[in-house]
Subunit: 214 residues, 2 copies
DNA sequence: CTAAAGATCCCTGTTTTCAGGGATATTCAT
DNA sequence: ATGAATATCCCTGAAAACAGGGATCTTTAG
């Protein structure tokens, strides 16, 4: 009995690559390939009883990304395994995926052999995460402990946002109907709290946190 | 006579996909696959007389990226065509590539058919750029006219980069072995040139242009 | 060759940031 | 109810940024 797989990736050529790898093995039956998660969600809805063993998915896709897809899949049936194949090495994204219970993660620059190993491992019921992904995950957990708890208050967020929008202290004070001294206090606290040296550091933080356009 | 191709992409699985597509055609002989530009540069150096028709390359790769590779290739021989296959749709990057005289650009989410068409077109001596890429390029040229040619010199880039890395004027001066006054001049010019108000604006620009991590 | 652009340096002021102290009132959870 | 966190405001002095001038030399493009 072959395993039934579904593949989602918005990069057609990459899909072709995956297909050619999987077809050269004889254990896998590709039920469906899709260029976003929505197609798959629909397929699952229409075929609620079909035996599906594994869904291989990219993270960033139009319409519905891999994370949303995984959520839907895991909600429907925990029998369907999910393997993420992506080039993202953003720690928060990896964290997110692991917490959403994906069964494996292999970077796109992995060798064909690793991909096949990941698939086999997952189909046998275990999880598979590449060394690289595990390292990033651990590193992240570890360093999080260090800076831990950099939580800004709403007021601080207001201030840092305006700072990153190039307003001077006086202008920010006027906008928020506060004293210039107050803004100076906030700025001082922000610099200390975020462990940066000046406006450039605050600006970078604001961008990283998406408080401002960039 | 088959055409001789070289392929560079740091995503192994994508490479496999390309290979399987190209091997299913019978016109192409793959001389070399590489996961960064450096390998190819070395190959070109070692085999200066080999007939190479086309190099297919990704943009972002470790060690040596597609842009640097293209520069080397075009400097060595204009007989070697270059086709970029990438998922980037950053207008400046596309602009950069076109100005560096690549022969074509196909996004990674293109169909296999388009890729093959691009290869054939380029091998016949014409250029091939996907509709999508052309649109982005044009759009960019058009809007550029509005904010008018903001070109920074290398020195200015050095300075704005260090500014965005939170160094003070004095520190930057020391790093670049320049007078503090010089850095102040650069900062002043940058603020005027980029139409921003202060360090926050410079920092945002540096991030947008990818001069610093964020 | 000449003009423009780039890289370097300098000056004078003013404004702003930054570091380091404090203060008071309110809110919120234990 | 008490103490911690938050929001607000204030001060001083030093350092840095910002505005608006110039100057000189080299490299580059027409």
């Amino acid at each position: 009995m072959k395993y039934n797989l579904i593949i989602a990736d918005d990069h057609k050529m990459f899909l072709d690559g995956l297909l050619s790898i999987l077809n050269s093995e004889n254990d896998y039956n590709i039920l469906l390939t899709a260029k976003n998660g929505k197609h798959i969600a629909k397929y699952l809805e229409i075929n609620p009883d079909e035996k599906i063993d594994l869904i291989i998915t990219d993270i960033t896709m139009p319409e519905m990304d891999g994370i949303a897809l995984n959520k839907i899949v895991k909600k429907r049936s925990s029998n369907i395994k999910t393997l993420v194949v992506s080039m993202h090495n953003n720690p928060d994204m990896i964290d997110n995926l692991i917490e959403h219970d994906v069964d494996g993660y292999v970077p796109k620059n992995a060798e064909k052999e690793e991909l096949l190993k990941a698939i086999q491992t997952i189909l046998s019921g275990e999880k598979y995460f590449s060394r690289e992904i595990k390292d990033i995950y651990m590193e992240n957990k570890f360093s999080k402990k260090k800076d831990e708890e950099i939580k800004l208050t709403q007021r601080e967020i207001d201030v840092i946002t305006l700072i990153a929008q190039e307003f001077t202290t006086q202008e920010i004070a006027d906008k928020l109907f506060l004293s210039k001294h107050t803004i100076e206090s906030y700025r001082k606290n922000l610099i200390a709290k975020l462990n940066v040296r000046n406006l450039a550091g605050l600006t970078k933080y604001a961008i990283k946190m998406n408080y401002v356009e960039h």
